[in-house]
Symmetry: C2
Amino acid sequence: MQSDTPLIPQSFDASFSLPPGRVLDICIRLQNAILAHRLKPGAKLSEDEVGEVFNSSRTVIRAALQALAHTGLVEIKKNRGAYVAKPTITNAHEVFEARTLIEPEVTRLATQKINADDMKKLEEHIDAEHKALASNDIGKALALSGIFHIAIAGIAGHAVYSNIVQSLITQSSLIIALYSKRLDTACESHAHAALLEAFGKGDGEAASAIMQSHLVDLHSGLNLRTLPNEQPSLAKALADI
Amino acid sequence: MQSDTPLIPQSFDASFSLPPGRVLDICIRLQNAILAHRLKPGAKLSEDEVGEVFNSSRTVIRAALQALAHTGLVEIKKNRGAYVAKPTITNAHEVFEARTLIEPEVTRLATQKINADDMKKLEEHIDAEHKALASNDIGKALALSGIFHIAIAGIAGHAVYSNIVQSLITQSSLIIALYSKRLDTACESHAHAALLEAFGKGDGEAASAIMQSHLVDLHSGLNLRTLPNEQPSLAKALADI
DNA sequence: TTGCTATTGATTGTATACAATTTGGCATTG
DNA sequence: CAATGCCAAATTGTATACAATCAATAGCAA
């Protein structure tokens, strides 16, 4: 694996109020690592350790970790430190419910504002998704899939929705990583291409509907009945129902 | 004015991921000060100065300011410091659009989950609103009005929506402070009582509709044509269109 | 063996000192 | 007199040292 390909380059845009400077770099690199699965849910993010990796003092690392905590990617426990978030089943449902409410509306807005340049970028993006999928680079395909949704929010030109969507998408990446029945099906959707078509026709209602059903598909493609890596749960094993 | 009445006590609940410890206290007190107008939009929040007020080091203050920046109450400019946010007209529109989309849905959820205890608390809350309004304490009435919406999100029992709504409401307080045509009308709505009635009947659709029209009313009650305290804007003054 | 308690180690929370950056004023110059 | 460049003061960005807290372990007692 190459040392440092920025998987999610435009993930943090200007509209996102983050501590500026070096902190933002570290945020992005940590986020990339988490979304690309190099850091697994539940992993400890010791301030000293992370600081050594990035050659920075704990001050900077703390700021970055706190910023990521606000987006839901990191969980900070008082006097215990920071951990890669491990979304619960409840949280997974909530995130996808929220997405199903918000993103169709954002998609409708995007349909009204999209221009030729945006269209071209989205096409290229979808190509990249297909390429990643073809070369079996599931991790990259998943990351790209998330960026696609963020890009649409960006096109909608609505900073408030953008921030919300961005946070929901990054959480979704964690959720999919934890709960997806089959990772490849989580990417391998025709929905993105279909969206592009609706955009081309300027059909906001269609685009919105496609987005909604796409999200419902993603949601129902999750196995939200049992916690992953959970030992047969003792309680359940002894429950002689 | 009494020295420190916590206007917004349950504003930050456990579901809100904030740096724990003393930082949270300072967050809340700063937030109260901002929402109660003791700190006006655009006011400089110097780290040293704030630190002196709270008898804390800059380390703690910085964390608090960054946390508030994430909720949109504070704006941090690189190497320039933190300022009380001064929402733009665009931002104001966006915030109320988002609220109009999200809160009716949250209200529907709340209708399904509300219990007698919740009802009672909401009734008491509305009484407090009326009392504040009767005694002409507009600032308090406005703050209580915001808390009412946050409380509904809490009743809905949906942590993701709760966080989003909370952030939107606090921003709304700033927006109303800046742009409301008449501050008293921003509180003096019968909508809250009507909502309670719909809750009592368990009529989710009605509750949702009431919430939506309530938000539309609030939105249209804003004067979003001219920036407040804006000098003729130079550029505009010189644009001989 | 089990349960409680105290000590210890490691990690985070906080304060402070130093470095870097910006801004405003002042002097210089056209 | 206006404009530009430079210097200094103030403020933020960063690093590090110290204090506080928690978890784990070892020791002791029942």
